[in-house]
């Protein structure tokens, strides 16, 4: 599931041609990256992070919906509903109805014109029972959604940690080669600080 990595590629497309286009300002292309301010970098990072977070939220929602469809929540009735309620076709067989998420529209009980003698106590009682049932069902759904979200975030976390490790390896190789060509170590470390590369050290081994 390399979703987040593929999404990052759009970012790569944005950032790589950038410096080459500003040579018209008279700045030497090679020196431009070296003079980038940390604040500017922070802005870019924050912007891209917002995009990634929105993307994550969308993916999470989609995943949860998918799993909910695949594992529909079932709440059974203990007793049959009252025979007067036939208006909206909510006649339910004895036991074991299955509530898929899309069908969870509880139609409010229509007024019964046919039974003017019905006691108000039965009304409230039935309302209460329906509310309780609905509440139980919604709670079940909430619990299931939490489980799915937890599953999703766990997988995303291991994946992102792995990707991070890989990126650090590649960067370490590139840095080693640069230093081998005589690049100044102090300047390198200054650039690392500028970009905030050492902010939070987490590896896949921390999981």
């Amino acid at each position: 599931m390399e979703q987040s990595h593929l999404y990052l590629h759009k970012f790569y497309a944005q950032i790589s041609p950038g410096p080459l286009m500003v040579s018209a300002t008279g700045l030497h292309p090679q020196s431009r990256p070296a003079t980038q301010q940390p604040e500017h970098i922070d802005e870019l990072v924050a912007l891209e992070l917002e995009h990634l977070k929105t993307h994550y939220a969308d993916e999470e929602q989609r995943y949860v919906d998918l799993l909910l469809l695949a594992n529909p929540i079932v709440v059974e009735r203990r007793a049959q509903p009252r025979p007067e309620t036939t208006a909206s076709g909510v006649t339910i067989p004895d036991r074991g109805i299955q509530n898929s998420t899309s069908a969870n529209t509880l139609v409010p009980e229509p007024q019964r014109q046919t039974a003017p003698m019905a006691s108000s106590r039965h009304d409230t009682q039935r309302q209460r029972a329906e509310s309780c049932r609905k509440s139980r069902y919604n709670n079940k759904i909430k619990k299931a959604k939490l489980r799915f979200r937890h599953k999703f975030v766990s997988s995303q976390l291991t994946e992102s940690a792995g990707v991070l490790d890989h990126m650090r390896e590649v960067i370490a190789q590139a840095e080693a080669e640069l230093l081998a060509r005589g690049f100044n170590l102090g300047a390198l470390e200054r650039m690392r600080r500028n970009f905030g590369v050492d902010r939070c050290m987490t590896t896949a081994m921390d999981q």
């Binding site: 790589s16 090679q30 006691s119 209460r128 939490l146 489980r147 992102s160 990707v163 970009f195 939070c200």
Partner: protein
Amino acid sequence: MENYNHKKFTGALKRKRCQEEESDDDVVFIMEQCGHRTPEQPQPKRRFFRPWLDESLAQEQEPQPTRTRQSHPGSPASPPLVDATSTYHANMVRSHTPRQRSPQEQLRRDRNTLASLRHRRSKQQEQALMEQQYFEYRRQHEANLQQQVRLSLYYVRFLQQTMAATREPLQASSHQQMPKAQTTTQHSWGVHN
């Protein structure tokens, strides 16, 4: 979890349950039988809190819907007494005959109730833990994403540029082709899909 207190066995409901059997024996029986497993409570001044025996306190008015429900001819049985200090929601009051149980049955019921309450609480704690873990993982993932952004920025904007810059003087001499900064950096990261 031995000192788990639940309102069914403390306070108003215990008072209510006990007042239907007009003796202390049952509760004493239960509390002695269950031993350490019943909820520990601070030692009371008297065995049961029964203010109507201590003083003559006027009972509060019952809520209107309960009153009409009680007086309705269609009600199946006499509803349970609503205590002056009980906190029941009028709509929630169930009207059923309180079953008479032998002490052993009541003991069994109480044990079952406590067990189920403990189980429910442990499930709640499990859920809370999962939720905490979820937030923690999510926070960590977002930190990872930020690092990914920074690392890629660092690599593309700085390392690749510098590599290209430092390689150029050698290019004429060694005929080495430097890979250009790529729009899709799959090659440069060497990540398999």
